[in-house]
Structures are given as C-alpha cells and as structure tokens.
C-alpha cells in the first residue's frame, strides 16, 4: 500500500512538474517566434489602426472587402489617386492623362520614377499584365466585373474571347498606357483607386505560380512586392498586418508615417476598449450605443460623416401580398424614417426618402416617398386589406446584428400600429440570410448598398431585371430601358436626367423601402491628422500624420 501511495504521489508530482515545464516553455516559444519581427527604431511614428474583420488576402485581385481596400491602399498605388477631400482625380502612377473627344479612350502617361518596393520600375506593361490577370477566367476574381467597362473585357473574362489583344488595353510604350472603353464612363478615373485596377509585380507573381493561379504564396511578408507608400513587414492572420515605409516609393518624402499596424479586430466592443485604453490610435467603426456617449463626452475623438450607402428593406415582389404594388407602397409610406434615425440608430444617419444618396456626383433624386400613414391605409384598403384585415403575417428577415435587430423591432411596431399588420421577425446568420435572399425565400429583407464609385448608376443598376444584386424578383422594362439609355448617353446632364426618371419609376414600383443613408463613424485620437472625411471612406495614407507627444 505504501509503495502504491509513493508511486501515486510521484505521479501527481510529475504531472504537475511536467505541466509547469510545459507552461513555462510556452512563453519561450512565443519569444522565439517573435524574433523574426522587424524591430522598429525608437521614436518611429507608427499608427495603430483597428481594421475590423480579418483581411482575406493581400492580393489586390483576390479580395473585395472594405478592410482589404484600406490595407491595400497602403501597399499599392493605381494610375490615379483621389483627393480625399473632394474625391477629384490626382496624379498617381500616371503623371497625366488625356481623354479622347468621344470620351471613350483614356491615355495615361506614367511617371518615370515610380518604383516597386524591390526597386524595379513600374511600367505600362505592369498595368497591362495586372488587368489581363484579373480578367483571366481561371483566376475567378470576384471584382473582375469592375473592368467590364473596358472594351471586350467582359467577353475575355467570361471566356468567350481568348485573345487578350482584342481587349481595349494597349501598351503604347513603356510609360504610356491606353484604355479603350465600351461606352463613356464618367467614373472611370475614380475607379482607378479600386484594388481591381491596381498593378501587380509580374516577376513576383510568376515566381510563386502561374499568372492566373489562385492561392499562391506571393502575398506573404518577405515575398510581397507592392508599389504603394508602404511595404509589407509582417502578416499574422487573425492578428496584425504591419506595413513600413517603402524606401523606393516615388513620393517617399511626402509620407509622414513610419508605418501602420492594422489590427484585425472584428469585435467592435473590443476595439472600442482598446481605443479607450490607448492601444489603438483609430478604429474602423463604433458600437451603436457608444456614439451618443462619445458625442456628448468626447466629441473630438469621434468622427461622423455621410457615407455613400443606403440602408433599405427589400420586398419580395413574387410573394403575396407584395405582388401588389399598392401594398408595397403602403408599407413604404407607413415607415417613419425620422423616428428610426432619431430614436433608434442615433449615429448621424440621414432618413432616406429615396434610394440613391443625395449629391452623388451632382445627382439628388427629386422623387420622394412620404411618411403618410393615412394614405398608406387607403392604399392598403384599395388593395383589399382594410385595416390590415386579410394580410398574411409579414416576416422581416435580417442577418444577425444588434443594429439590424433594433431597427427591425422598431419597424415591426410601426407597421403594426399604422397598418394593422401582423409582423414577425426572423434572424438568420449571414450565409443563410444570403441564401434566403438569393433564392427569394423571404417576404421583407434588410439590405444595404455601399457605393463602389460616386455615381448614381452604381446604385440604380442593382435593380435591373435579372441582375445578381436585385434579389427582389423585380423586373421593369421601363426602368431597364431608362438605365440602359443612361449607359449609352455621353452628355452628362442628359444622363443624370435619365437616371432621375429611372429612380422615379423604381420608387413608384417600390420593390425596396429606403430607410436611411449610412454615416461613417469611427474613433480617432485628436493627434491623428490628415484623415479627410469623404463619402467613400477613402484614406490617402500618404497624407496621414500622427502628432504624438513623447514623454
């Protein structure tokens, strides 16, 4: 027995000892792992930025999200940059450009001193290669359609044309690039800041795989080559991306920061806590309920400005009672937008009486959906549902989020009160929600659209009959004809007039109920300068500075 005891005691001791050894070794492992990280010079000015969801990849042709765009803007530079205040085009890799009289051919004159982060020159060939790459069918890039305004690009992308020479991109000489478009596209220059148009370094891509091969290792720190103001120093997935000054960047003297650390923090509350404790200099968003608190107590640490996007409800026009236009209009008119932005969201959002955000490239819709419960009840009665009698239960579908939930609960109450409708809520996780809206398996669904470029057509074309982003079953020949006419119209004023008519048709038909125009909200320390508010949320990292008092 005593022997047994002894052995038993020693087992416990040895278990505990080995646990202690194991545990005490672990920090050692992380120290060793941390050794590879480039140490910053003392006094280096590093911006610590909260960056929301994890970046999927650092290949500009493989990604589509906002967080990726923000990060890639530090690592790459397109032909044209935008002035962050006015969103007017400014020289980027292209020092200047010409537009042909028929507004269909752009000729870009590249600067001679643009360099990749390994010192190679950036040439017209690089852009030609990059555009060929994103359009190549095998790469299956989500955002290839962004280049479809280029002549024959769509056909090449879809594989119906295999010869890239027929696509409207031409290398005139090493520093001159010509782009021929399908039809006049006033926002073509604006699109150049988008990652889909960014150049990639051919030798690097091909060192790690074929041109159109997905998922190669070229985007890892150490392999990555970009042409932006910063270069990639470290990428730890789910944690941090560190970028540091690119010594070869043509405009390196204008860059004020020594580096940026992008922290992938998808939990807004964690991000806000980190900001409050000083671990972050800026965040990418603010929790809904913190907005009011910051506005009251700390107004110089919160930034709120209009954002090019609309929050709206989709109505499934293939499912009764929303097959009836009068019912759709009644529901649209019984929704009190003011009450939602004023009492529920409270984050500086503007109520949306129409769909395209106001002043989008000089366009503000003239048609409005009023908040008019009395007329709404009349319409509903005409449709055969006096005081909501006979209406089937209406189900509002939204994807999981505190804000969507609150808004849906408020709307539920409004429709109950004003129309006598029996409204239920349905919360689904993101992928199920997408599946339900794609297959029209819903009645009312929460939605939103954030503009990719500052142009009303970017919003309106979503509702073209049969379009992938329509998801309402709505198809109106009249609306489609107006949008297509606007595509072909070269005259700017006439084009906007056509879009006005199109949006009026859309709002009358009401396959959607606009609720509010987004506002962009984030936290930043007063020391962070040069983040000019603009409706795209576009950041020119070269302009950003950090005035930090060192103790």
């Amino acid at each position: 027995m005593s022997i047994g005891e002894g052995r038993m005691a020693s087992t416990i001791t040895s278990t505990i000892t080995s646990t202690i050894i194991l545990v005490s070794c672990l920090p050692l492992v992380s120290v060793v792992a941390g050794c590879g990280r480039a140490a910053d010079m003392p006094g280096a000015v590093i911006l610590h930025a909260g960056n929301g969801a994890e970046v999927q990849d650092l290949d500009p042709h493989m990604v589509s999200g906002v967080t990726e765009h923000r990060t890639l803007c530090a690592l790459f530079e397109g032909l044209v940059n935008l002035d962050p205040r006015t969103l007017e085009p400014e020289p980027g890799v292209a020092a200047s450009w010409d537009l042909s009289p028929d507004a269909r051919v752009y000729t870009f004159h590249l600067r001679r001193d643009a360099r990749w982060s390994n010192g190679d020159a950036v040439t017209a060939e690089d852009f030609h290669y990059a555009w060929r790459r994103i359009l190549s069918p095998n790469l299956a890039a989500d955002y290839a359609y962004f280049l479809h305004c280029i002549e024959n690009a769509k056909a090449y992308n879809e594989g119906t044309v295999t010869d890239f020479d027929v696509v409207g991109v031409k290398v005139v000489d090493a520093y001159t690039l010509e782009a021929r478009l399908e039809h006049p596209t006033p926002y073509f220059l604006g699109m150049q800041v988008h990652q889909a148009y960014m150049p990639v370094h051919r030798a690097t891509i091909e060192r790690f795989g074929a041109m159109d091969e997905r998922s190669t290792r070229w985007t890892r720190a150490g392999n990555h080559v970009g042409n932006g103001p910063f270069l990639l120093a470290e990428w730890t997935p789910n944690a941090v991306i560190r970028v540091r000054r690119n010594p070869h960047y043509w405009n390196r003297d204008a860059v004020r920061l020594d580096g940026i650390n992008f922290y992938a923090i998808d939990n807004l509350w964690t991000q806000e806590r980190a900001f409050r404790s000083g671990q972050l200099d800026m965040t990418d968003d603010v929790p809904l309920h913190k907005v009011r608190l910051y506005r009251e107590r700390d107004p110089d640490r919160i930034v709120l400005h209009p954002y090019l996007g609309t929050y709206y409800y989709r109505l499934n026009v293939t499912r009764p009672p929303f097959t009836d236009r009068r019912v759709r209009r009644a529901f649209a008119m019984a929704l009190d937008r003011e009450a939602i932005t004023h009492n529920v969201t409270r984050g500086g959002e503007e109520p949306a009486p129409f769909y395209t955000p106001p002043d989008t490239n000089g366009y503000t819709c003239r048609h409005r959906i009023p908040f008019d419960p009395a007329s709404a009840r009349v319409l509903l009665a005409e449709a055969g549902f006096p005081d909501g009698r006979g209406l089937p239960p209406i189900e509002i579908l939204y994807n999981t989020s505190e804000a969507h939930k609150l808004i849906a609960e408020a709307v539920q109450q409004m429709w109950k009160q004003h129309l006598g409708a029996d409204v239920r809520l349905l919360n689904q996780d993101w992928k199920v929600y997408l599946d339900s809206t794609n297959t029209l398996n819903y009645m009312v669904a929460r939605s939103g659209w954030i503009g990719d470029v500052v142009d009303p057509v970017n919003f309106l074309e979503c509702f073209l009959g049969g379009g992938g982003n329509n998801r309402t079953g709505y198809a109106s020949p009249e609306f489609d004809a107006l949008v297509h006419a606007a595509y072909a119209e070269a005259d700017v004023g006439q084009r906007l007039e056509l879009l006005q008519e199109a949006e009026a048709v859309l709002l009358e038909d009401a396959p959607l109920i606009p609720i509010y125009f987004y506002s962009r909200k984030y936290l930043k320390r007063p020391e962070v300068l040069g983040l000019d508010p603009n409706p795209l949320g576009y950041i020119r990292w070269t302009r950003v500075t950090l005035r930090r008092e060192r103790v």
Binding site: V29, D142, P237, R273, A274, R276, D429, W430, K431, G468
Partner: protein
C-alpha cells in the same frame, strides 16, 4: 498495460474516420454556400470557383478526394483565406490556444482543487459554502459577462492589465482567469464530492485513529482517492481548454484556434471546419485515453477491469 494502451490507440483510427465523415456531410447540409456574398459573384465566376475547390464534383467523389488528401496529410486550402493552407492556419493558431489553455488549466486546478479541498473538510459549514460559492462564479455567469467585467475592473478602472492582445505576460492574466473560472467550478465540485466520499471511508478512519496528523490524512490518503473523478474529468476538459474558446479569444482579441471554430462554421469554410474538428477530435480522444491510463494507474481495480 501496454497492450491496453496499444489497443486503445488502434481504436482511435475508426473513431476519427467517423468524425471526419459525419462532419464532411454535416457542414454541407447547412444552408448557404461558401461563396455567397453581399455583392453577388457572377455565375461564371462562381462556377469556376467551385471547380477550383472541387465543389462541382458529385458528393461521394468530393468525399473520397478529401479522404485521400487527409491520408497524405493534406487538409486543403481555406476558402476564406485563399493564400493559406488549413495546416498552416492551424499551426499558426493552435500554439496560442495551447498556451492560453495551459494557463487556464493552472488557474482552474488552483482555484478548483483549493476550493474543493477546503469545502470537503467541514461539509455544510461556512467553510464549505464560501469557497464553493466563489468557485461557482464561473458557471453561474456567462464568460462573455465575466470577461468584460474583469476588464472593466482590472484594466479600465485599475489599469493593471492591457485590454487586449497576447504578447506580454500581463496580457495573459485576465483571459486565463476568465477561461479557467468555468473549469474551476467543475473541478471544485468534483474535488469536494470525491473527497467527501473518500474521507468517509474506513481506511481514512483507520489513519485518523492511528493518530496521524489531519493534514497528512487529507493530503496523502484522501487526495489520492478523491482525485479520481477530477482526473476523469480532466481528459475531455483539457481537450476543450487547449483547443481554444471562442468567447474568450474574441473578447480579449487572442489569435487562437477558438475563433476559427465559430468563424469557419459561419463562413462555411468547409476545409477549415474539417481541420479544426479533426484537431479537436484528436485532442479529445488522446486526452481521454490519457485520463483513462492515469486512472488505471491510480486505481488497480480499474486496471484489472
């Protein structure tokens, strides 16, 4: 003994195979596809993506291909992080979760054993109720409340610890406490129950009657029998601790595997789900086996049976 271990190890393989098979089909049953996005991907692009990831093949074919890959040690490429293989992602994140889990285990054992032992000395007295109540906090308050509360107190008010990260030793205190608290409650409860039973046994009475000091009776004789249920519990519990906790890793922003469990499931990242499930299954099975072996070692009766 060795034959027992060998037999159990051999039995792991079919279990793992079954786990992989169930998961493979289960994840494909969930509505919503991996490439569904707010901005719908063009149909042609979607088709090519599915081809690329072998999602257009008949399901049995996909299954066989995956299994062959698995035997070669190839877990595939993550859908949501296209330039990383699943193996790479797991190797990056598992060590973090292992470290967090190890600290949490220490916390759980420290609080749990301490409270349980103390409580068992004088059952139904204040000495029983007070430590047990304290130890129970972890299972009476969801960890997504406990974590922020600890942060509020120790990071924001007292500024003792950073609010997020996983680099300095100070970063690691609050997450380990939060995660350990849940398991401390179970361990305390099991220790108390086990000790109560053992301390009422004849051989303990004999030991006391012989005039041994109470501390020796409890620690040397009592602990041995009383630890058995704890050891049995520690098998699966350690597996769960070491493979990461979604809540704790989210709140404290720790780049561990726990976030992937949930993230991969929500993103329908099939290869990453498979990878994390298999890692978890291996941990559960191996640690369960380890717990059984430890128990057999502690108690010859179990060994014989």
């Amino acid at each position: 003994m060795w034959r027992f271990i060998a037999r159990r190890l051999v039995e792991l393989a079919p279990t793992l195979l079954a786990v992989a098979t169930i998961t493979f089909f289960l994840v494909r049953l969930a509505p919503g596809g991996p490439f569904d996005a707010e901005r719908q991907v063009q149909p042609e692009v979607l088709e090519r993506l599915k081809d690329h990831y072998n999602l257009n093949a008949p399901i049995y074919r996909q299954y066989l291909d995956y299994m062959f890959g698995l035997f070669r040690g190839d877990l595939g490429i993550s859908f949501s992080k296209p330039s990383y293989t699943v193996t790479e992602l797991i190797l990056l994140r598992l060590p973090v979760s292992l470290e967090l889990g190890a600290y949490a285990l220490l916390v759980a054992l420290g609080i749990g054993l301490g409270a349980g032992l103390l409580a068992s000395l004088k059952p139904n007295s204040l000495l029983d109720h007070a430590p047990m109540s304290l130890a129970m906090i972890g299972i009476c308050l969801p960890s997504f409340v406990l974590g922020p509360l600890l942060l509020l107190m120790f990071s924001e008010k007292l500024a003792w610890f950073p609010v997020m990260g996983w680099e300095t030793p100070a970063d690691k205190v609050l997450p380990s406490l939060t995660l350990g608290a849940v398991y401390a409650a179970y361990i305390a409860r099991l220790t108390r129950g086990g000790m109560l039973e053992v301390l009422s046994q004849d051989y303990i009475r004999t030991a006391r009657a012989k005039g041994l000091r109470e501390s020796r009776v409890v620690l040397e004789h009592g602990l041995r029998g009383g630890m058995q249920p704890v050891v049995a519990f520690l098998g699966p519990a350690t597996a769960r601790l070491l493979t990461g906790s979604f809540v704790v890793e989210t709140i404290f922003w720790i780049p561990g595997l726990g976030r992937d469990f949930v993230g991969a499931a929500f993103n329908r990242d099939y290869p990453l789900i498979m990878g994390t499930v298999l890692v978890y299954a291996v941990f559960v099975l191996v640690l369960n086996l380890a717990a059984d072996i430890a128990q057999a070692w502690l108690d010859p009766r179990v060994r014989r049976a």
